[in-house]
Amino acid sequence: MDESYNFAFLDEGSKREIRRAIIKAISLPGYQVPFGSRELPIGRGWGTGGLQVTLSIIGPEDTLKVIDQGSDDSVNAISIKKFISLTTGVGITEDSEEATLIQSRHRIPEIPLTDSQVLVLQVPTPEPLRGVERSLGAARQLHADKEYSSAWLMLYEQIMRYGRITLGADYPVLVDGRYVMAPSPIPRYDTLKLHNAECLYLFGAGREKMIYAVPPYTSVEPLDFEDYEFDIEDMGDRTCRLCGATGVYFDEMFDPQTGERHYQCSDTGFCSKNAQRGHTHEPGINSK
């Protein structure tokens, strides 16, 4: 740890302000709370929103895991880990079960998280109504009025056009029966993990200066229709070529030489642990 920085880089005043925003976000599940986003020595769009949330709640006792699209060792994940480790000295892990605090982009770990864990998700675009309502002020009024018909209409249009809901990642959800929320670009496969979870989910958008939360045991329902129900990506009978897991979320690899497709776990921490144990299957919440 580099003593020339304040613990977790941000000054105490900034951390307190961000914590206040977090507490408000937890009190109003799914509601976007504006906060005074700080400059960090990391480019916006590299997860400064998530990073500020992490830096504001991290303590010396925490064990941190950072993942980027499921991977522990992408350039982005590594540079965030280096930065937090340098300014806090906390332990770093790749094991989802060991971590007390996980910062992630685009994925939720395969193993269900517990009530002693917090998952921080980086958010590029926090406004779930952005596609249907051009002005952010108007979108805020729609949230205030709980007027979400335009979000359902967007799904209806997809059905009119393509015969099904084509939306993939960042599937809009209704939180606690009140606010429609963008869960960040996690796959549909991960969306149901938000529902009635044991852990706390925090969402940080740096560029758009918003923080929101899904507290433990909160209802999170994907928007859908009676006759077109939400469903997750079909992983079929795919197996991971590294650990043999089935029924998890996969990255698809294409070998241009042989023309072959193969699959490996998107959650690399889960995959290496699974391979070590020699397990071929680990039930996540989505596998039956």
Binding site: D145, K146, S149, L153, F225, E226
Partner: protein, 276 residues
């Protein structure tokens, strides 16, 4: 109460107003304050709409017709005044004073609106079916199959071919766009329908067709309609009673036949005479 809608002293002002123009006894320059330039687009308007009648509102350009309808549909906030809908709390609660969430509920289930300009009433890039479904979704429907059926039924009644319901209104003629707007406006069987210059800009033959459709909708649904137009010919063809507006106020009202035969106010006289 047995009126479908009661409007009391409704005023809509663009601008802040000043001590001069807030005093109703001081004359304005038409509808504009000579001092602060605020526009009193609708001023102290009161009227009643009876169940299943067609009420015409006629007036020259700028007289406040659109502003009146849009404030009743909550697009534009009323500056003062009250309105009561028999379908809402038995007509006992002033709908101008309720929360914006309540206003959306009223708008989604108790009112239908056809805008003067179709781009205001329709999502031009969405399917026509989706445009109708928007109103159904807003009123709580979550069943795609039944919404598609309902949209088809309404659009077909408005003579949009079933083969075209997936097309966006931007690919339609003006007359077709107005018919999509009407389908959308009546999707939830609202007791009150507001029509703003629904035939303006259409060819005469298309106008006649749209007016016929409005009459058939009124008969079929037994709905109360306010139809606004600067064209007395349109009003005469459809409405049972007529209100004449000038500079934000009502100058004459009565049975349409009576107004046509014996107009009292000089402005109404000019309108009637220009018809012949």
């Amino acid at each position: 109460m047995n009126q479908a809608l009661t409007v009391n002293d409704l005023t809509v002002r663009y601008g802040n107003g000043c001590s001069y123009c807030r005093d109703i006894s001081n004359p304005l320059d038409k509808n504009r304050c000579p001092h602060c330039k605020s526009v009193w687009a609708v001023r102290n308007i009161s009227f009643e709409l009876y169940p299943s009648e067609i009420l015409g509102i006629v007036g020259e350009s700028g007289s406040g017709k659109t502003t009146l309808l849009r404030s009743l549909y909550f697009d534009i906030p009323a500056t003062s005044g009250a309105a009561y809908l028999s379908g809402y709390s038995d007509g006992l609660v002033d709908i101008m004073g309720v929360s914006s969430q309540q206003k959306r509920i009223i708008r989604n289930s108790l009112l239908g609106m056809v805008y003067q300009n179709p781009t205001q009433g329709l999502l031009m890039d969405y399917s026509s079916s989706g445009n109708v479904a928007q109103k159904l979704i807003a009123a709580g429907s979550r069943n795609v199959g039944s919404m598609q059926d309902r949209a088809n039924e309404l659009l077909e009644h408005m003579q949009i071919p079933l083969g075209r319901v997936k097309e966006p209104p931007k690919q339609f003629s003006g007359g077709m766009q107005q018919r999509v707007q009407i389908s959308k406006a009546i999707a939830n069987n609202p007791p009150v329908l507001l029509l703003d210059e629904v035939t303006t800009g259409l060819d005469l033959s298309v106008q006649a067709k749209v007016l016929d459709l409005i009459r058939s909708v009124q008969k079929k649904l037994n709905i109360a309609i306010i139809i606004v137009s600067h064209d007395l010919a349109v009003i005469r063809m459809l409405s049972d009673r007529t209100i004449v507006m000038l500079d934000g106020g009502i100058v004459e009202h009565g049975l349409t036949d009576q107004i046509m035969e014996d107009p009292q106010h000089w402005f109404t006289q000019t309108l009637v005479h220009s018809l012949i």
